[in-house]
Structures are given as structure tokens and as C-alpha cells.
């Protein structure tokens, strides 16, 4: 069951918008495909990016995936907890395992992302 309180991307990331702040993480599917995650490399707060930029990486015991920013904006917060406990991405990808919060420059960018039903279809469920 894919939560419908947020949007999704082709790269298996989720985006939850509150006001002009978007919280971004990877989906359950992405976390389980990657396997045991050992390191999450996140950008500095204060840095600004455009939609589609690679802003970090997620390293598991078997692969490294890029973290893309689905919407343009300034990084206002990163999940410091992942530094000491990157396994949070496996145990709670949709909540405690969130990665970055971005102040969006154009909140309409989020409208173009997939909703839960579209993402479920992407997964082929």
C-alpha cells in the first residue's frame, strides 16, 4: 500500500509538501532494492539546487545510488540521524529515514510528480 499523503518520482523518491517546504526521501521499494544501507551522503544546508540535480548518494553493501532533487530549492535541513544510523533508511524509509528538507523555489514543480496510484502502477503492483 503506497501512502497517498505525498508524491513520487521515477527515481523512487518521495516528496511530501508542507507550505513551501518539501521533505524528500526514498521509497520502501528503493530501500529494499538497495539492501542494507551503510552510508548516506547529503548536501550542506544552505546549498541551492535545481530540479534533477544529483545532490547526494546512498551507499548500500552492494550498490551506490544517486540522490536526485525532484524540485528546485534551497536545502534547509538534512536528517543528521542518518549519519550515525543509516539503517533508518531501511527500517523506516517513509518516516524516520527521510533525507532532506528543501525550501521550494516553485511549488508547482511538485504538481508534476506522480501520485500514489501512478507510482503503484510504475512498480507494476
Amino acid at each position: 500500500m503506497i501512502p497517498d499523503d505525498r508524491k513520487y518520482t521515477q527515481e523512487h523518491e518521495w516528496v511530501q509538501v508542507e507550505g513551501d517546504i518539501a521533505t524528500i526521501g526514498v521509497t520502501d521499494h528503493a530501500a529494499s532494492e538497495l539492501g542494507d544501507i551503510v552510508y548516506v551522503d547529503l548536501p550542506d544546508t544552505g546549498s541551492e539546487f535545481s530540479a534533477g540535480d544529483s545532490v547526494g548518494s546512498i551507499e548500500s553493501v552492494k550498490a551506490v545510488a544517486d540522490l536526485y532533487l525532484p524540485i528546485s530549492g534551497e536545502v534547509v535541513e538534512i536528517n543528521e540521524g542518518l549519519d550515525g544510523d543509516p539503517g533508518l533508511v531501511n527500517s523506516s524509509p517513509m518516516d524516520d529515514g527521510w533525507m532532506i528538507k528543501v525550501r521550494m523555489t516553485d511549488s508547482s514543480e511538485a504538481d508534476g510528480l506522480m501520485d500514489a496510484a501512478a507510482y503503484e502502477e510504475l512498480l507494476g503492483n
Binding site: D41, D44, K62, A63, V64
Partner: protein, 454 residues
Amino acid sequence: MPYVPHTPEDVRAMLDVIGAASVDDLFAGLPEAVRLDGELDLPPGLTEEEVRQFMGDLAAENVTQADLVSFLGGGVYDSIIPAACDAISSRSEFLTAYTPYQAEVSQGTLQVIYEWQTFLTRLTGLPVANASMYDGATALGEALLLAVVSKRKNKVILPATMNPRWRRVARTMLQGFDVTIVEAPANADGVTDAAALADLADKDTAAVVVQNPNYLGLVEPVQALSDAGKANGALLIAAVNPVSLSLLKSPGEYGADIAVGEAQPFGISCCAGGPLLGFFTVSDKLTRKIPGRVVGRTVDRNGADAYVLTLQTREQHIRREKATSNICSNQGLNALRATVYLSMLGGTGLQELGEANHLRLEALRSEIADIEGVSVPFSGPAFNELVIRLPRPATEFRDFARQFGLLAGIPLEGVADCTENDLLVAVTEKRTADDIELFAEALDAFATGEEVDV
């Protein structure tokens, strides 16, 4: 393995397979003009004994640092090398195991690297060291690449007081990365101007480099430079002479994110151009970004100590395309020598080494103080090296001093605000009171314009 040349029959058989009439036919594509016409112009062959004699005569024409008194430095220093460094590093168990492809089988090699890393973390005050780099200059280049890639910014700042050869290597290594290299100016004291650095180190800056002591041998105001350099989020890279760390603040103490340097003074001779020995240490936060390999200590299934390659995902495995470096090896044999050297000195010995270096340099400073026409343009604290301002070009004194059996130092024209009369003179713990007196004698003769009959 014996050298077995092809027989004429072998050659014929191979030519037949590819359909060529002769070996010369294989080169038919090359223009006549660039092809050798006739036989090589070589003297007749020599017997083994004749070759031995010939090579011996050639070698006797060499003049080495061992025959001269060396005040050359600039990054590579003539230091005392304990016999144990040669004895242990030439043991075949170490010498022939260049790089262990099945690393964990070579526990001895891994243990040495682990101990080398431990020494470097203690010296630099940063928690993580890699297994070594080719030399200090490439270690600096790698540090800059790490900063540029991980900060996703493309401006780096190098001080004017930096080793100019290191700067050239760094510039070469940054080619193709769309990086702007900005120079932080020096002030009248021959050290980096902290206020100017603060203006340069903006939000677009990935890294600020501090070299301490700097190329002129002067101790930089590291804390002020660190504060100025890091104010807008740049990484601070400290390029340090590790011998100085027995007396000076460690990079970790003044907030460096990366420390690099040249460990040649730790038991490695001054060969013409190398091999040298770079080191690379980082803060916890950059652990996963460190180039090269890291050896870790763990326990085997019986609970005994065991050493393993760890964090080797970057250049060779799953992070390969995201690596900032392509170094897949390390400078194993020289790291061994340095590890032997440091093991023999221990903490107290290292401190005594630093003090001896410092005292000898101060002895030179006072020995030359009264020579007319000669001055020391920068009065700040110095380590290992001193800038001396001569009445005439430094290149002249360099040549003049050879009559005294001296390698006098490195002319400094073009570095920071140095003039053609400035000479960089290195004094290590190896220079005796007699050596220093000889230097002063040569300098006095040069300054007074005496004719010398040595």
C-alpha cells in the same frame, strides 16, 4: 627466467602465418625517412667484467648528496636515516610484496600500513588516515579534488606561500574539472594575509589550503587562516611537514578537514625526484571520501587480531564512477620505511628530532647575523628552513658555494614577494656545527666578494 630469443625458424613460421615476406615488411607503413638505415651504431659487446668496470667508472663521476653538505630543502630534506630503515625495508618479505592482490593473506604488510595510518592520525590530529599516497604534491591534488567534488563548488584557494612545485602538480590534476584556482596573497611577514583570505573565501569556495610551515619555512597564523577560510563553509586543507608536528599545532587542533603532506623526512633518502611518500588524513565526516585504501583492524573467528582492507568501495568497486580519485595502490615500501623510522623514534624521539631541527636552524640564523650585506627578510618563527637575502643573485651564490662542497639552497625568485637575491636554506638535524660554520664562511666570502682558493 632465461632469455630465449626466437630462432630464425620461429620467425619464419610467424611471418608465414600473417603472410609477410620479412620482418622489414612489417614496417613498410613507416616512411623511409624515419626508418633506420643500416645497423645500430653500437660499440662491440663487452664481457661481464668489462661492463662492471665501465659502469663503475660512470658511477664514480656522480656527485651525490653524500659527497656534499646539503642545505637543499623545498619539500625534500637531507635527514639522518637509521640503518634499521634499510635493513628492515630490504627484507624480501616486504620488498618483493609490491601490492598484495589477495591483501588479507599478507597480514604483515597490512599491519605495517595500519601502524603507519595510526602514526599519521596521531601526528595530524585527524581521526582517519589512508594507506599513503605517491607524494605530498599529489596528495594535495587529491585533497582538492575531494573538496571540489564533495562540495559541488568549483573555486579553490591556494596561498602564495605554497610550494610552487606542489601548486603546479595540483593545477595539472585539476585540469578538466572546471576549477578556478585563486591565490591568497602573502603579507610583509612572508605569511598568508588572513584578512585577504577572508575576503576571497566566499560561498562558492570548495577548499582553502594552508601550508604550514610555508614554502619559506615560516610558521603561518594557522588559527586565523582557518577561521577566515572556513567562515563560508569551505573545507580547510592543511599541507604540513610532519616533522614540524612534533612542535607545532596539529591540523586537527586548528580545524583542518584534511591534512596532507610529504613524509620523506621519515627515513627516506633524497633520490633524484623520488620516490617520495604522501600522507592523507581526514575528519570523521570525510571518512567515506578519502582516496585510496584504508587498512582496518578486526578479529578473526578465533578472536585474534586481523587486518583487512576496508572502505575500498570507492575506486575499485561499487563507487568507482563516483570516486574523486583513481589511486588504487599506495606507496607501500616507503610507508614501511617511515613506519620503521617512527617506531624507532617514538613520541619522545620525535619531539627531540623537532627540537634538534629547530635549534640547528637557529644556529644558522645567528651564525650569519653579522655578515655584512646579508639579511633575513622575514623575522617570524621558522622551522627547517630560512630565507636569506643576499647582496647579489641567489643563483650566483648557489654556484659559488659549490667550491666549498655546499649545496647552498634554492633560489626563490618568483615565490610570493621574494626577489632574485633570496635563497631558501634548509637545516635539518643532520647539519652539524661544522656544516653551519662552513656555510657561514662561504656566505661571508661571497658577500665580501673575496676571491676564494679552495
